[in-house]
Every structure is written in structure tokens, then in C-alpha cells.
Symmetry: C2
Subunit: 250 residues, 2 copies
């Protein structure tokens, strides 16, 4: 399972490149394969659609069991809302031996720069204290649990990163999430909205929480809501670590 | 601000390498500079100690204002418990213009593979649902707030990553954190303990929450506590995304 990072080839790690070079078969969601185009020459490439995660994981395991070196690619990090858990979960259900010994499969996760870290870098330093990541997709998670997580994370003054804020068929959840967080956070709390980080069409905006529901967001947008100490600085957003409070300005 | 990733040179991104190559001065905590040793030839190198974050940030800004191209390096990602916020916070206090125009400074954050993603990759897929990161260091954060965050994050069934679980002068906080999470989590909940990920002396262990307080941890250890659905699979730890529950085993 190979993480390609946020999208730009310069944010791919050396290890991810090497894993793709060593692979005989590369499997992935169409968009992510597009990111790695120049590394795929001469390989068997299997492109899948957004909702076929289980099929891709099954195919990767079957091909690997058949003796192929397979790279299953994810954007960002394969461990964050991505394919690594799908593969391990399926392998566990099938009772496969992944210890890498004789007769077993050797499986490795190659980490990548995660979407939340890429978005944070473009915004400045919004993530620099305790933070929580919450996906607003209720396809596999009951909405009630998502609401509870938002409420408790906001109450605990975590910086909150929202993944998948809106999709074609899912419209009201983003506004509702802001409303829940707004119970515990001042209206001027900075919110960073990053679309298509490090990809064509990138946009980066910082706005107060009170105005954030009007931001255009989609499945390729990541939203970071500051904690009670976060502030806007020019076009950036910063969550202090606390050094200046403790030690004063040097 | 340049992120070097978890430690192994193969997990540095191309962009981070390029930023170091372009720099005239490289500043960083001694350990991180050691990770980038082969990229530092011919450069002015300023190595600092662990507790001199403000001094390093100030030095980096002063040198950049004096016209130098400066790389301030962090291990992992510069935006996660690292130097990016210190620089922006200090620049804001000094009223510096970081917009990059004439007379201003051009400042950029180069993201890296974060410690939590590196640890997760070695453990399997523990982070694959909503998760929260909490640092147990009370040097700059009141312990009461850390306890409240742990309690609410556990109540909300987040996967919880503990940074800085123990230091030379700080012993009881790790055990206390496990106790707080244990109020909301079953004793068999898997806990992953990763020390020195992708560096010499790496160790990776999965154990039940009930046994986790006995694990040896230090400032170079990252601890990931599963949510109520996480399970141990061989020597790995997996947090299901929910596909198999919804769609069954294909």
C-alpha cells in the first residue's frame, strides 16, 4: 500500500517511488493513478472507480497471492481514510497470513504526506496543537456518531480537520458541522479551506467561522477549524504552541 | 520550514530535498540535522538544543531578513508539534510582513510524513477512522486541559495518538492517560507502541490496553490507542473503515 502524498510529484517520497518502480501491477483509484502517470510505464495498471475499494483490495490480495508484486496506491497517506485498513480488514476476514514468512504474504505500508498536513502547510501552521480529524461522510459511519465526535472534539478545544465536507449527494452536513463546532468556539475563530492542495486548481482561504458555511467545499476540500487560541495572520492561520505566552517575545 | 519525515532518508520528499539544496543556512535541533547529514555539505549549519525553539525561530527570521535563504528543519511534519507555528507566532508578534512581496519575507512550509503516519504504517492500519492527536507534554499546556482532551476524545471513540508520552522529568502522565482512556474503552482494545520509527533502534509492538502501562515509552515513542472497533491481527493493529460491515466479504 503506497501513499502518493497530496498530489504534486515533488511531494512523493523516495520510498513510494521505489515501491512503484519495483511493482509489476499497480492498482488504484483513477485520479491517484493520474498523479503517478510517469512512474507507470511498462506496468500492468488496474484503474478503479471511487466506490470500489473492497474490489480493489481483493484484487490486490489475489494478485499478490498469485505471486505478483503489487502496489495499491492511495492519495495522501494510505492509513488515513484510505486503502490500508480495507486490505488488512479483508485479509483478516479471509484468514490470510501476512507475516511475510514462507507461504505467507509480505505486506508493507509506505506512508505518505497526509492531506491534512499538506493543507496545513499551505495555510501556515493551523495544526500545531492537539488536533482531531473527522470525516463528514456518513456512507459507512452513522451521522449521529459524527455529530457526537464533532461536539466533543470542539468542547475539548481540539483543532478540527474536516475530511470529505461535501459530496454530490451530501449537502447539509458541512453547515451542520460548523453549527455544532460553533457552540463551543467564537464566531471569529479562523477556518482554513483548502481545495486541491498541490494540484491544478488549488485554492487556499482563511475566513472566520461565522462566514465559513458560505465557502465552496467538495470531496477534494479539506477544512481546518482553529482552536480557541488560533489566529489569522495575513492570509495565513496559526495555532500557537504556547512558547510566547510562557517565555515572552525574545 | 522543512519537514524531514520520520527519520529514514527514503521518507524525505523531493521538495524537502530541494529546499535543503537551495538553502544557504540550515538550522535545526541536533538530532534532525543528523538525519539530513548528507544534504548539508557546504552549508552554514546551526545546531540547537531541544528547548531552544524560540531562539531557533528568531535566528531563522533574522537571517532571512538579512537576505539569506534559510531552511529551518523539523523531524516529521513542521506543522505538527514542531517549528512552523513558533515561526509564524513570533513573526506575528514582531509585525513582520510574510506576504512575499517587495520588502517582505517569502516563507514556505514544506510538509513531511508526520510521525503519527509513520508509526501507523509500521503498525498496519490503526488510524483509518476519525482520530485525535494529543501531546502528553505539560511544559506549555496545563495538565488539566490534556486530561480533558483525553477524556472527551475517548468518550467520542476517536482513535487516539499520544505524542511525547514520557520524558526524563515526566513519569506518571502516560499511565494516567491510559487510565482516563480506559474509562471508555475495553481492556482488550489494541494499543500500538512504536519507538524510533524508521530510525536505528526501531521497535513496534501491539498489546491490549490493560497491559500498555508496562510498555517502555519515551520522547521518541508514539502510542496509538484503538477505537472500540480496532482489532489486533497477527503482529498488526487495524481500525476497520466499515466496508465489510456494510457490504460483507466479497
Amino acid at each position: 500500500m503506497v501513499g502518493l502524498g497530496p498530489g504534486h510529484p515533488s511531494l512523493v517520497t523516495v520510498q513510494a517511488r521505489q515501491a512503484l518502480e519495483a511493482a509489476q501491477v499497480v492498482i488504484g483509484y483513477r485520479t491517484y493513478l493520474g498523479q503517478a502517470r510517469e512512474l507507470l510505464a511498462g506496468k500492468e495498471v488496474i484503474a478503479g472507480a471511487m466506490t470500489q475499494e473492497l474490489q480493489r483490495a481483493g484484487q490486490a490480495l489475489d494478485l499478490a497471492l498469485g505471486g505478483k508484486r503489487v502496489a495499491l496506491v492511495s492519495g495522501g497517506d494510505p492509513g488515513v481514510y484510505a486503502m490500508a485498513a480495507v486490505v488488512f480488514d479483508l485479509a483478516a476476514q479471509r484468514g490470510l497470513d501476512l507475516a511475510g514468512g514462507p507461504g505467507g504474504l509480505a505486506v508493507e505500508v509506505v506512508p505518505g504526506v497526509s492531506a491534512v498536513n499538506a493543507a496545513a502547510a499551505l495555510l501556515g501552521a493551523p495544526l500545531s496543537h492537539d488536533f482531531a480529524c473527522v470525516s463528514l461522510s456518513d456512507r459507512l459511519t452513522p451521522w449521529e456518531l459524527i455529530e457526537q465526535r464533532l461536539d466533543l472534539a470542539a468542547k475539548a478545544d481540539f483543532v478540527i480537520a474536516l475530511y470529505n465536507p461535501r459530496s454530490k449527494g451530501r449537502h447539509w452536513q458541512y453547515g451542520r458541522a460548523l453549527e455544532i463546532v460553533g457552540r463551543h468556539r467564537a464566531p471569529h475563530t479562523p477556518v482554513g479551506v483548502v481545495a486541491r492542495a498541490n494540484r491544478p486548481g488549488q485554492s487556499v482561504n482563511v475566513m472566520p467561522l461565522s462566514a465559513a458555511s458560505a465557502a465552496e467545499v467538495d470531496m477534494q476540500t479539506l477544512v481546518i477549524i482553529g482552536n480557541s487560541r488560533s489566529f489569522q495572520f495575513g492570509r495565513r492561520m496559526v495555532t500557537p504552541r504556547g512558547y510566547l505566552d510562557k517565555y515572552g517575545t525574545p
